[in-house]
Subunit: 215 residues, 2 copies
């Protein structure tokens, strides 16, 4: 219930907290103060306290945060205590890169199938997951519980496939195609727009050069 | 000069404006009102006017925006009227995916070299760009003007390589490794943290499922 009042900005930051806490855990850190956490994350300590208070606040005055407890709780908030079945549409380099990330699996994202239109890829397996032809998609989704579809296909093909996936009942699209998808409101879309990220970098590089020239 | 007063939020949105305007151009749209642009982009018209006013405002009352002009001007603001030389560190699937994106080149990001530690990849070319061994990196960067380095290497290797790149004078890092890089302030870092993006999706999926259960 409380989730609904959490701002988008906090939700955006949660995965980062989760990653940091995971790193601390790997280094056998048992507890951490909001001050230390703030120095590592380059966020103010008051921001951290405020963010974590959204979830009832897991810190204790004079003790700080119990790293493992906080990690587990944030993981639950992010839904990482469950498993998600994932299909990848598009078995090009990017699709194969996603299929090869063992990290995703460790966090409960299980890749169930990969789909492509290229007949030369048919039957090839990537880390044990078979590449199917796209015309098998409908039957596959009907016969398997699929939670998430990653779209690593060209921009012009993405809208139609996304629409089909939504029709088949898939509620979460991880979209790498550089186009916005217009889907029903109950389908979650998370975009990874690489070109836009690269443009932010060129903007910052340009701003840096201009400030150097002015000096 | 005016760039310095532009908020981070606006800068975050600019590449998206640029992408939309590019799509309009491809479809031979000559002009567009802030209302139409707002409907397509799902941002309020007043937000659009406010954002574009940051750059002197390119709209005309009763006419709307000239698409090509606005596209060109935003491109300049983003630094896309220049060319950037890019190297990719890590020739795995993700590095190869980046090297294969012809879209980046079209926008002035030219891939000059790809580096890896795997001797089996030595001398192989991806779209005409050779894969070099990582021990050639220093000489390569000294002999070529490199503006941007993309890091598509494992998390634990990224900080040391990033530090070396900064020492060699590279001012922009496009970081795909799931770790924050601590670099001098005059080195721009743009992170693409895929796992965090996936977690936002699982968060939203979980929130959706919970709201369905409550109904």
């Amino acid at each position: 219930m409380q989730d609904k009042e959490i701002s988008l900005a906090v939700i955006q930051r949660l995965p980062r907290y989760y990653r940091y806490l995971g790193e601390l855990l790997e280094n056998d850190v048992v507890r951490i103060s909001s001050k230390e956490l703030s120095e590592r994350m380059k966020v103010t300590a008051s921001q951290i306290r405020q963010d974590l208070n959204n979830f009832g606040g897991f810190g204790q005055q004079g003790y700080g945060y119990n790293v493992e407890y906080l990690y587990t709780e944030i993981g639950k908030i992010l839904g990482l205590d469950k498993c998600y079945n994932v299909i990848i549409i598009g078995a090009g380099n990017l699709g194969q890169a996603l299929a090869n990330y063992t990290d995703f699996e460790r966090r409960g994202f299980i890749i169930k199938g990969i789909f492509d239109v290229n007949p030369r890829l048919e039957g090839i397996s990537i880390r044990g997951t078979e590449i199917h032809m796209i015309d098998e998609l409908e039957e596959f989704v009907k016969n398997n519980t699929i939670h998430i579809a990653a779209l690593t296909i060209p921009k012009l093909k993405a809208p139609a496939i996304a629409k089909e996936l939504a029709k088949l009942g898939i509620k979460a699209i991880w979209n790498f195609a550089p186009i916005d998808l217009n889907l029903p409101k109950d389908v979650m879309v998370e975009n990874v727009h690489l070109a836009e990220s690269l443009m932010r970098l060129s903007y910052n590089l340009k701003a840096l050069e201009e400030s150097n020239t002015e000096e």
